[in-house]
């Protein structure tokens, strides 16, 4: 749990009871970066009044519907839910010195022949499990999982939960695919993988429970961030910050262009509003009303270098692109190494950042023969591909290090792009100090840019937004 929670210090848990448990749960979620507001907690409590708590699925769904408001949140929610409620119950059992004695728990499975304390034979058990899997009866599955552990687990347990799960499954002869007929000789529909996984999940949980009971300690709770969440490591943590900066940028790019380019003379009379206003003067249109001048949508072209020389930065750049796509509808993005390739579609189809990154690297189609950037060629291709679409309304943003690997920089072509486009910005992932050293030809491009910025953190990105908004670009 992060000490600097945006919601202030941890609330006093108050008297014991379920309310406190739920608050603690929300606190855990906040610790993992899910924004749980007070209104959401109130909703959760309100929802629980209408749901039978005894049904675990309902309980969980009711909480999820009120607390986890996106797919990402939901994933975190699932993990924390397991950890929190499951462990909370176990922890209090340990505290109170409760233990489960065999034969204790009532087995609430309909025709359950285990009542006489005799051990089920594995055939019968497997049979029951198959039935339960087909019905998808979670409660029965849970009980059967405990039974299976009792039958196979305790004595010869390896101590590693994952291994034991598979061992028990094998000894029961359960597998996906077609199933043997029932005892009565009836045909059975094949089981699919999901049904089997459901049972394995129960097994795993019951085994863990068992382990906790035996050792009387809880497994350490690892922070999720290490565990399951951040797939492409560093940039996702910045993702939210990038998104914030970009949405700021959106507003500013949208409104900025107008002032700079002066007002048009002509205005359109808004008939509807003029008539509406004329009602105040008895239907005589005394005051003309004009159509509000809507800021024109900026058209943005982003070119992003994904070559090896900027490997570390390109993930960051991709996340910038990702955020841009969320904010701008008229955005076309290109990635380039030696040649250029449009990836607008990829961003429009995929929302998940990890999937985007994977897709671009696998099928971005950046004909990457040598792996070396060829800026000159990129400009030529960019210009031929979209020269008709470039107009003074468009903003071109280049994300790259301007390292041409000794190839012709074609600054003249770049100048043509700059002429056509309304504005042109360059974000360079290298510190200014390194510009123009080695094969960096930043200076020959810099002249044609409305602004060049070093940019390798979100703070730089914000700075870029500020400067762009301040309306003081360095003129070339």
């Amino acid at each position: 749990m992060s000490p600097a929670s945006p919601y202030g210090p941890k609330a006093d848990p108050g008297p014991p009871g379920f309310g406190a448990k739920l608050l603690g749960f929300c606190e855990e979620l906040r610790g993992e970066g899910v924004a749980v507001g007070t209104s959401e907690i109130l909703d959760a409590f309100a929802a629980l009044e209408h749901v039978p708590w005894t049904n675990q699925a309902d309980f969980r769904e009711a909480l999820a519907a009120t607390i986890a408001k996106s797919q990402d949140d939901r994933r975190v929610f699932e993990l924390i839910f397991e950890r929190y409620f499951f462990r909370a119950a176990e922890a209090s059992a340990i505290e109170q010195g409760l233990g489960e004695r065999p034969g204790d728990g009532e087995i609430n499975q309909g025709a359950q022949p285990a009542g006489d304390g005799e051990r089920l034979d594995s055939e019968q058990l497997a049979e029951l499990i198959r039935d339960a899997m087909q019905r998808g009866d979670e409660n029965a599955l849970r009980d059967l999982a405990r039974l299976a552990i009792a039958a196979f687990g305790r004595e010869e347990g390896s101590g590693v939960v994952g291994v034991d799960v598979q061992r028990i499954r094998r000894s029961l002869g359960l597998s996906a695919g077609s199933q043997p007929p029932t005892a009565d000789g009836e045909e059975r529909p094949p089981l699919d993988r999901d049904q089997l996984t459901a049972f394995e999940r129960h097994l795993r949980r019951e085994l863990e429970r068992d382990l906790i009971e035996r050792t009387e300690t809880l497994p350490a709770s690892r922070p999720l961030a290490e565990l399951d969440r951040a797939l492409p490591t560093s940039p996702t943590q910045d993702l939210a910050a990038v998104h914030r900066a970009v949405s700021q940028m959106k507003r500013r790019l949208a409104t900025l262009g107008q002032e700079q380019r002066g007002r048009k003379k002509g205005q359109t009379v808004d008939v509807r509003r003029t008539m509406r206003a004329s009602l105040e003067t008895g239907g005589v249109p005394m005051h003309l009303r004009y159509r509000p001048r809507r800021p024109r949508r900026p058209e943005i072209y982003v070119l992003c270098d994904v070559s090896t020389s900027v490997t570390s930065a390109s993930v960051f750049f991709l996340s910038v692109l990702h955020a841009l796509h969320d904010s701008f509808r008229k955005l076309r993005s290109f990635v380039f190494i030696e040649r250029i390739s449009e990836v607008t579609d990829v961003f429009e189809q995929e929302r998940n950042f990890a999937a985007i990154a994977r897709k671009i690297s696998s099928e971005g189609g950046v004909a990457d023969v040598s792996g070396y950037t060829d800026y000159g060629r990129v400009w030529l291709e960019f210009l031929t591909e979209i020269s008709e679409d470039l107009d003074p309304r468009s903003t071109v943003i280049v994300l790259g290090d301007a390292r041409t690997n000794g190839r012709e920089p074609h600054a003249d072509v770049f100048a043509r792009i700059s002429e056509r486009a309304g504005r042109l910005f360059w974000l360079n992932p290298e510190p200014k100090l390194y510009w123009n050293y080695g094969d960096s030809v930043m200076s020959s491009y810099e002249r044609f840019c409305d602004g060049t910025f070093e940019c390798w953190t979100t703070r730089h990105l914000e700075n870029f937004v500020d400067v762009v908004a301040g309306g003081t670009p360095r003129s070339g």
Binding site: D43, A62, A65, H243, S278, G283
Partner: protein, 290 residues
């Protein structure tokens, strides 16, 4: 009206031809109980809009639908003054005093109601569907906030108009952009995904009852295979149903390679997708038995 339990909601939905899974039924139930809007997200074609329609049918409430698009504004979504009628009133009024006219022309009579207003002002309870909210811009979302949290609309000339009956509000989103926190905060969240094999079989059979179960299973499995490919537009549930009906019309009893090739265009609707599917899925199917 308001159903007593999650099970009852689920049954009611099934009766009108919508097989809801547990979360969907639960959230629908909670929405009626708590009087909160539902935000439904999920890929295209999993029955988000259908859920709203089914709720409308199962509760017997009329459905008021607002289809969102880029550039939708409040004049088209909420209300607008009918200025033509106002002008007529002024002219027809002739000698009537200024005060009278002014009082008059800003009355409910001169208001053109749009879907959101209709839902609020309706005498009987309705189901309000705000479809594809992600197509609008954030400004529009902000405008919805008053409606979603308090079920009221403020018109400067008239004051607040509050809902007399509690509408069930459903917002759908294809997840094409992140919605604002403020909007999400006011809603219950429901993620709908493609149904599992068993449930989709049930759905197909519900809509194409003459189909043999084995064929339905086969069909759903093939559709599942197609969905697993990386397509521009994966087949939706509605398309599975269409395909089932087509197969019935064609009178086939198994999906072999030829049948698939002939009827594939019902579930795959992109040139590039068709090639991919023909190659990856079509080849796996058995040849026609001689």
């Amino acid at each position: 009206m308001a159903d007593e339990s999650v099970e009852a909601v689920k049954r009611a939905l099934a009766e009108v031809g919508y097989l809801a899974d547990e979360p969907a039924a639960l959230v629908s139930f909670l929405a009626q109980r708590l009087g909160k809007p539902i935000l439904v997200e999920g890929p295209a074609g999993v029955g988000k809009t259908e859920l709203a329609k089914a709720l409308s049918r199962s509760t017997g409430r009329p459905l008021v639908r607002l289809q969102c698009y880029e550039g939708l504004d409040e004049a088209k979504a909420m209300y607008e003054w009918n200025y033509r009628k106002q002008l007529l009133r002024i002219q027809a009024g002739g000698d009537a005093g200024w005060e009278d006219v002014q009082e008059d022309i800003f009355g409910a009579e001169f208001l053109l109601t749009r879907p959101l207003m209709q839902a609020i002002a309706s005498e009987e309870p309705v189901v309000l569907l705000i479809d594809e909210i992600d197509k609008t811009d954030q400004e529009f979302e902000a405008m919805l906030l008053e409606l979603l949290s308090d079920f009221q609309i403020t018109i400067p000339e008239l004051g607040q108009i509050s809902a007399t009956t509690m509408p069930i509000v459903i917002l759908t989103s294809n997840d094409s952009r992140e919605l604002t926190e403020a909007l999400k905060r006011r809603c219950l969240y429901l993620w709908l995904d493609y149904p599992g094999v068993e449930r989709e079989i049930e759905i197909v059979l519900l809509h194409a009852p003459e189909m043999p179960r084995e064929l339905a299973r086969r069909l759903v499995e093939v559709v599942g295979m197609v969905r697993d490919l990386d397509l521009k537009k994966p087949p939706s549930i509605a398309e599975s149903i269409d395909w089932a009906r087509t197969l019935l019309l064609m009178g086939v009893d198994d999906i072999d390679r030829e049948t698939f090739a002939n009827s594939m265009s019902i579930i795959v609707k992109h040139r590039t997708d068709i090639d991919l599917v023909a190659e990856r899925v079509g080849m796996k199917l058995p040849d026609r038995a001689a």
